[in-house]
Amino acid sequence: MGTNTRWYGAIALGALIAVAAATGICTAGAARDREDRTTAVTRPAARFGAASPRATDEEAGTPACWAGVEELEAPGLSLAHFRDVVAPLLASGDPLVRAYLEERLTELVGADQGRALELLGWVKDAADEPLVALALAALEQSEAVQAPDVAAALLALGQDDAISSDRRALVIAALETQHRLSPAAAGDLAALAVDPGSGDAGWMAARTLGRVMHEDFQRTGTVAPYLDRLVDIGQNAAAPNVRVAALEMPMVAEVLLDRRSARRQAAILTADPDPLVRELAAHNLSLAADKDRVLSVYARAFDAESDLCVRWALFRFAARAVGARALPVMARMAERDRRFGDLYQQFADIYASGVVDFERVWLSLPSDDPFACLAREEEDS
């Protein structure tokens, strides 16, 4: 991961300022003397360098234009009329008009709980999947979704077995912008996630719990109620993808683990049969509050671990957990597994150079994937 070396315009700072002062390199203001605006703009190609080859049309993609879309800008537009107009637009797959429809529908709902519940009516009744998806996406971004009645209606619909799992998943996802979840609501989502029959709705429930945790954490610092449930799901869900999703979410929110949460993650690290899950636990543990304890957990786990990529996770996250203080433990890891010898030296050299921030340590490594753990591929069909 070397440094950038391009930029024909890169000039030493001192020389730049001196040249600017001496030669009047800035022409800003000179054009004010010109009266004819149409000739005011010049394009001295040499000043800005040569052009590069153009991509083909296939590579550029083909956006569309639509006559009649202004219909949706009418003042006082009802949701029913909106629904009448949008079907061909949704069917087209045009991503720009789709984004417009979502934003426009969000505007139309605003903070109006009645309109929000009207959209939920579409979700229950409509056969048109794109319309349902649009309605829920708009609802998710609206102010009205924060109203308790609307959130409760969404949650109830998300647990309604009469609706397909796919559609229930969309409904659950509309809760991701909630500022917080009540304990009861969080419990319902957790139960849905571990339910072996929940399908896509269960996966979405795990992700939604994690995303609301992030929201609540950013606003209030609250994390524990969600974290416990996510770990429960990580340990107990039948579907592997649900377990992985639940354990990924703390990584996104960068939550600090208290002792209890750290103990649970450590248990996963040492006991889960899935190396990916163990890797996630190693990642999450790097933000545990008790640094000494987590360092010893990493050291013991490394000795017992057979998977190279999990060992790499333990190695690098020891540094993330405690910084240069991890070097002695990392040295022992390198003695245990000689494949980590060069890596240890890289980390030691970086810390010796004065880098303290783990993000910069990471960026300073010659490779962020020394064992091709990220580049592993097995098959393509």
């Binding site: 083909t62 934003e103 969000t106 971004q141 994690g210 993808n241 990916l276 990642h283 994937d369 591929e377």
Partner: protein, 172 residues
């Protein structure tokens, strides 16, 4: 298996959200083709990314996938055309590094005249290829934090046909 619309709507954030979140980007298909793998391979082994195959090895262009102008760092490990893999450590890679250890990366393309580091918005960085550990020509798209894959950013499913004009996910 996740249906298209489940994930498309469920993962999409509106412009309102994207406008305030610096690292949030929609992801487009980097070429027209079929999704051949997502979280797990057919064997059940973990993959944790999106693979898309289509077009002609060595000639179909592969774009950087994220919407919006970003600096893309290109690493070329194989300079000749490869379609069916040439072993570990030989994959060509393009990557954008965000803050806090997040990175979006694409693997396996063949080197072309466009394969150099620069800022751009959905520009061509090579041709469809199978450099590195690959059994066929495809584009691999991945989002990770400090080397740990994140699997909640996409909304496409295996077997789905996707286009360069199509959004296939977003990174929050």
């Amino acid at each position: 298996m996740k249906s298209t619309y489940v994930l498309w709507a469920a993962t999409a954030a509106s412009i309102l959200v994207l406008s305030v979140d610096a690292d949030a980007h929609y992801v487009r298909a980097p070429l027209n083709g079929k999704v051949t793998a997502t979280k797990y391979y057919s064997s059940g082994a973990f993959h944790g990314a999106v693979d898309i195959a289509g077009g002609t090895c060595g000639s179909t262009g592969v774009n950087t996938a994220m919407e919006g102008t970003l600096w893309w760092s290109v690493t070329i490990r194989t300079t000749y055309k490869v379609c069916y893999g040439n072993g570990d450590w030989h994959h060509n890679e393009v990557k954008h590094t965000f803050s806090s250890g997040w990175a979006f990366r694409q693997y396996h393309f063949n080197k072309s005249g466009y394969s150099y580091s620069r800022s751009c918005d959905r520009c061509t960085i090579g041709t469809l290829g199978g450099t590195g550990l690959a059994t066929g020509p495809h584009a691999h798209l991945q989002y990770d934090k400090y080397g740990t894959k994140n699997t909640t950013w996409w909304w496409v499913s295996k077997g789905q046909y996707v286009y360069t004009t199509q959004r296939i996910g977003y990174t929050p």
